[in-house]
């Protein structure tokens, strides 16, 4: 017997006048997965989540939450979801605790749960202070506390590490791990790829509103055989590789030259280069990272990749 996917979208599309923000996105998130929804800023991640959460009306297509696919069913299903979108959205003039009271009343949970959640995110001592006095890290943690109030089966987090320092990122990551260990399904949108690679079991890469690839992290990063080659004269190496039939791609990086190969035979590559008078100082299998895969899949879309790669 197969479980109903927790989230399933089918050709989900959103157009804002002339801008096609989300273009026929079809994804499926199964129970217990930590699902990474990746893409650069403006690629349609938040809009997609907004549609799942009922704040944005899809132009076309549809989705189901816990198997419910109509508006009434979505509303009932959202009681099983905890979500936060973009920046933490709270009333600045109210205390953290009062803000959680609003969320708790909407979710139909008692005040005792507020204390528990403040405790989990380490804000028990600051609960009575106004939200506007919180640091960004504290605001993010309060948002996480709000998502946990109803002990949700599905946690949706949109850029939860945005603007956080390394310590704050670690704290958020730890909280996500706690949630994942408790068997929650987690839908995590981010452009911090190393962050996602550490936490996610499955990912979907979105580019200009379209999903360009999805699957397990292993599936995304290991489909191609790559070799990292270091030589004295990279120009001569590239010229020699132009005639090597097994080489399907060559890319110069800071570390050396990354050669994409049609076969797994690194020895053959070494022999070929030696035969052409090129002796390597380093030859190793290059383990593709999620970041490499992402950059390759979204090649040419962005001016600067610094934000994505950082």
């Amino acid at each position: 017997m197969t479980d109903t996917p927790v989230v399933r979208t089918l050709d989900l599309t959103k157009r804002f006048r002339e801008v096609l923000a989300v273009d026929q996105v079809s994804i499926s998130v199964e129970r217990g997965q930590v699902f990474g929804f990746l893409g650069p800023n403006g690629s349609g991640k938040t809009t997609t989540i907004g549609m799942l959460m009922g704040i944005i009306t899809p132009t076309r297509g549809g989705f189901s939450l816990f198997g419910a696919s109509d508006a009434k069913g979505h509303l009932a299903a959202r009681a099983r979801v905890g979500a936060t979108l973009e920046t933490p959205n709270f009333y600045p003039y109210m205390s953290g605790r009062d803000n959680l009271k609003v969320a708790a009343t909407i979710k139909g949970v008692g005040n005792d749960r507020i204390n528990e959640c403040l405790e989990i995110v380490g804000l028990a001592g600051r609960g009575r202070h106004r939200f506007r006095t919180y640091s960004l890290g504290m605001k993010q943690r309060l948002a996480l506390a709000a998502t946990m109030l109803n002990d949700p089966e599905l946690v949706i987090l949109d850029e939860p590490a945005n603007g956080l320092d390394p310590q704050g990122m670690k704290e958020v990551r730890d909280i996500i791990r706690i949630l994942a260990d408790r068997g929650k399904t987690i839908f995590l949108s981010s452009h911090l790829l190393w962050e996602v690679e550490r936490m996610c079991t499955h990912v979907a890469i979105v580019r200009k509103g379209r999903v360009v690839k999805s699957g397990t992290v292993a599936e995304i990063v290991s489909e191609q055989v790559k070799a990292l080659v270091r030589v004295q004269d990279p120009g001569a190496l590239e010229a020699a590789l132009a005639d090597y039939p097994e080489a399907t791609g060559v890319q110069a990086t800071d570390e050396g030259t990354v050669v994409t190969l049609a076969s797994d035979d690194l020895g053959a590559l070494n022999r070929y280069l030696a035969g052409h008078g090129i002796y390597v100082s380093h030859l190793s299998r290059h383990q593709q990272t999620l970041e490499d895969a992402f950059i390759e899949l979204t090649k040419g879309d962005f001016g600067s990749m610094t934000e994505i790669a950082s």
Binding site: G50, M53, G54, I55, I56, T57, L75, R78, A79, A83, T84, L85, E86, T87, N89, F90, Y91, P92, Y93, M94, D98, K101, V102, A103, T105, I106, K107, G108, A146, N150
Partner: protein, 275 residues
């Protein structure tokens, strides 16, 4: 907890600690008391002309400028309470947390009704308290003209409150919504002044625009025949056209129609637009 109880609780939590709301209500209460005090002092000294400063006559002394500006305060308070929910993205978060957009809207209608009640009660309590303190002989709470006057004040509150409600839902920013509300007030008054100068027939029609209707609903001459007679006698003396008002039922129907229209447009806007 019932859905209504839940929405009420949410709005009470939000409103309780909102300084802008309490400041607006406080300023209005201050104006109300300050306006009533001179009349009360005169009554205590046994001076003053006209009807006694006590129930039921007291209402024409209470529900007069600037207290009859209460509806504008309510419009502003409604904007302050509603519009920032979009800027702070808390309306969006409320929906993410599990409210339907329609429930969020109903919550704001509940907040509106509570605020309307507060702005209605302040002058009523002030009037009753002043009447108790005043040495003038007290009669019944209100007769038919005073009841109409009090009801008209409530209707004027609803009219400007819903204008604030609509602007908050459509403009989604408190500064801009407040600016447009005041601008509309000015533009409509200027328009009617200009048109009435050129075309008397059109002037009658423009009298049913929201601001003009508000003006009618807050005028003593609309409720009290003796006030109307006095005003018209003065106007006749000065060669001015006499004051005429439409039937009460027509004014009430138009005002209620506007209230329903503004709430309806706000609902459709809320439902259709993304958060």
């Amino acid at each position: 907890m019932s859905r209504f109880g839940k929405l009420l609780r949410i709005e009470v939590i939000k409103a309780r600690k909102r300084p802008a709301l309490w400041i607006t209500l406080g300023v209005f209460t201050f104006f109300t008391v300050v306006t009533v005090l001179p009349n009360l002092f005169r009554a205590m000294e046994g001076g003053g002309q006209g009807p006694p400063f006590a129930l039921p006559w007291i209402w024409r002394g209470v529900l007069q400028p600037p207290i009859n500006m209460g509806p504008l305060f309510l419009g502003a308070a409604m904007i302050l309470l509603f519009a920032p929910e979009f800027g702070w993205k808390t309306a969006r978060q409320n929906v993410i947390d599990g409210l339907a957009k329609e429930h969020f809207y109903v919550g704001k209608v509940i907040a509106f009704v509570l605020l309307l009640a507060a702005f209605f009660i302040v002058p009523i309590v002030t009037g009753v308290a002043a009447s108790i303190i005043s040495p003038a002989p007290t009669g019944t709470f209100a007769r038919a003209p005073e009841l109409n006057h009090i009801f008209g004040y409530g209707l004027a509150l609803a009219l400007w409150g819903t204008i604030g409600f609509l602007l908050a839902a459509v403009i989604r920013g408190s500064g801009a919504a407040m600016g447009i509300m005041l601008l509309y007030l000015l533009v409509e008054n200027m328009l009617t002044s200009v048109v009435s100068f050129w075309n008397a027939a059109l002037d009658t029609l423009l009298g049913f625009l929201p601001t003009q209707l508000f003006d009618t609903l807050t005028r003593l001459e609309f409720y009290y025949p003796d006030e109307l007679a006095r005003a018209n006698a003065m106007r006749a003396q000065n060669g001015m056209p006499l004051l005429e008002f439409p039937e009460h039922s027509v004014v009430v129907a138009f005002a209620l129609g506007y209230v329903a229209l503004f709430l309806g447009v706000a609902f459709v806007t809320m439902r259709k637009r993304d958060l």
